[in-house]
Symmetry: C2
Subunit: 352 residues, 2 copies
């Protein structure tokens, strides 16, 4: 572990903008999460804010309040997204306060803390570190695709989604843990900054990688994981969606990452690509996404539903309907776990 | 124009490794090409080496020999590819010689000239410049996708290919020129380093762009071109291939770049993805590629054939066969021009 951490979510902890915070509340092997700093939710429990389940993670109004209550973390992690991955000027007071107190700041934006002379000076003065998770590796450390993936016999399952911010990483993590609990040696390849913050050992930050190296970095992560851990199955954290116009992604997993199987994460109540409602950009039907994935040579073996804006009855209705319509197991991960998908994975492994 | 240039191709001018050289021999609006430096082909004409057509571009054995014959360019352009986009140590003597003589060096590798202290010192001493075409823009200058592309009514046609190094850029350039000659106001968006070297005004180097910005840079190039030039049609230079495992590319053009139509470049004699013959990685059938493109919402309106390893009879046979099999116009650009595709573009425009 790198140390203890508070999550900074700038009053947005209860919103989808805080998906990095949500991932860290669900669990991290890199940082021991102590709680959150979020004035709008101060006094509550961060787990309760997320999904109603207490996790003994207090939410403080400020770093100062946390310190007054004896909570002095090693790190402050920026747990919110901004438009364009920019550093929001409104976060600066909290970042400065942390650095002045010697607390290192972890940030997954495209704009880097270490490029801000003022922050670099504050960090240097107090001995705090600036951790820019999306800073790309130097080119000499990046990998090209070699074809080594073809020698891997471990089944690779991609967690793809019909949209961004829909639960691909969460489903991948839950599946990895549930499969392990069921005696299946499972590993997850992270592909985003939150996955890194959660302590993923194998993976890379896909969206900040120069395009030419995406397939090679993906291959390298999978091959290294297989060689070192010899798992029974590997889950790949997907990014975006195959046809999301703001940045399509997914075919790399199927053609370069050797994923012959996929699990599709879908939100039945979401009609438009998130953030593009005003442009009438509609998410295609699930069946058409499954067919597109099939054209890339991979088979969808199950669905995971994001139940955002659905009550329990509606969620169960969609689960039953999609199950019968597609003839595939459909899980409600957050509400009811991923058991149906663990069964699908087990069936896949025993059929080999 | 930036100035005069000699192309450096390190004895490989007659091979597919020199595809950047080949593009520059075909034409550049950025550099006035004076000839090439290539010991293996010294004394010949660079155009003749390329495709048998003289272009009055002498090939010299060295920069020294060029200078002895009165040829003193402003730039030396590295016109060959290397494994992994590395700077090949074997090129260094020629690069040093250029810099010492005050000749600037242009390079499209992933490894940068300006990162080599020795070269930077030589350039500084002589006043020569180091032009690293693949050096990414600072993040603050990169664009995210905004959806502005949806307001563009100009037809956008993507030049996709069934493989890398198959003639997508050449076909795009020929089509742009042929359409202009036919009275159709045409623009081309470049997406690679050679396109930049050829003087493309709109475009970006896709493969060195951080993945998150690819769709936005593409959109920005198209929208800027439409606003400023108001063309009748836009051709997009494709990269790689939708299912090339070493780096799939193409869906960005269809889902983010607003391309509703595509022209597919195909090499009938190529069975395997170039460079992956030893791994038995086969190129899928053309019909399956057309269907995959259709799944992304775009229609293939014609084919351009790369006739590598085909004699004239075989080329004509493939042209006729694919034409009848697919019901699409099929051009042999290098041998017979792109007229059948200009007709397809004209039909598309008049049907609107």
């Amino acid at each position: 572990m790198d140390g203890t951490a508070l999550i900074y979510s700038h009053g947005l902890l209860h919103t989808v903008h805080a998906k990095t915070s949500h991932g860290l509340i669900r669990g991290s092997d890199r940082y021991r999460i102590l709680g959150a700093v979020d004035p709008a939710n101060a006094g509550r429990d961060a787990g309760e804010v997320l999904d109603g389940r207490r996790r003994d993670l207090p939410v403080f109004a400020s770093l100062q309040e946390a310190a007054a209550q004896g909570c002095r973390p090693d790190f402050l992690i920026i747990g919110i997204a901004s438009a364009g991955g920019r550093l929001d000027p409104e976060w600066m007071p909290a970042i400065r306060e942390a650095l002045q107190a010697g607390i290192s700041v972890v940030c997954g934006m495209h704009e880097f803390l270490s490029d801000q002379p003022e922050l670099a000076a504050l960090a240097a003065a107090s001995g705090a570190r600036l951790v820019d998770v999306r800073k790309p590796k130097p080119r000499t450390e990046l990998h090209f695709w070699t074809g080594e993936i073809l020698s891997i016999s471990t089944p690779v399952i991609a967690l793809l989604g019909t949209d961004c911010a829909i639960g691909k990483r969460t489903a991948a993590r839950m599946l990895t843990e549930a499969c392990r609990a069921a005696g299946i040696r499972s590993e997850m390849i992270f592909t985003g900054q939150t996955g890194w913050m959660q302590g993923g050992r194998y993976g890379f930050v896909l969206d900040s990688t120069p395009n030419d190296f995406v397939s090679g970095e993906l291959e390298h992560a999978i091959v290294s994981c297989c060689r070192e851990q010899q798992p029974d199955v590997i889950f790949l954290e997907g990014q975006a969606a195959l046809r999301n116009p703001s940045g399509p992604c997914g075919s790399e997993y199927l053609v370069s990452g050797g994923a012959r199987h996929a699990i599709l994460v879908h939100a039945p109540a979401r009609t438009y690509y998130k953030g593009w409602e005003h442009l009438d950009l509609r998410i295609p039907p699930v069946s058409s996404e499954i067919e597109l994935i099939r054209r890339y040579g991979a088979e969808v073996i199950g669905l995971a539903l994001n139940t955002q804006k659905l009550d329990w009855a509606a969620a169960e209705h969609w689960q039953a309907q999609l199950q019968s319509e597609l003839g595939l197991p459909v899980a409600l991960p957050v509400e009811a776990g991923v058991e149906p998908l663990v069964e699908a994975v087990r069936a896949l492994l025993s059929a080999r």
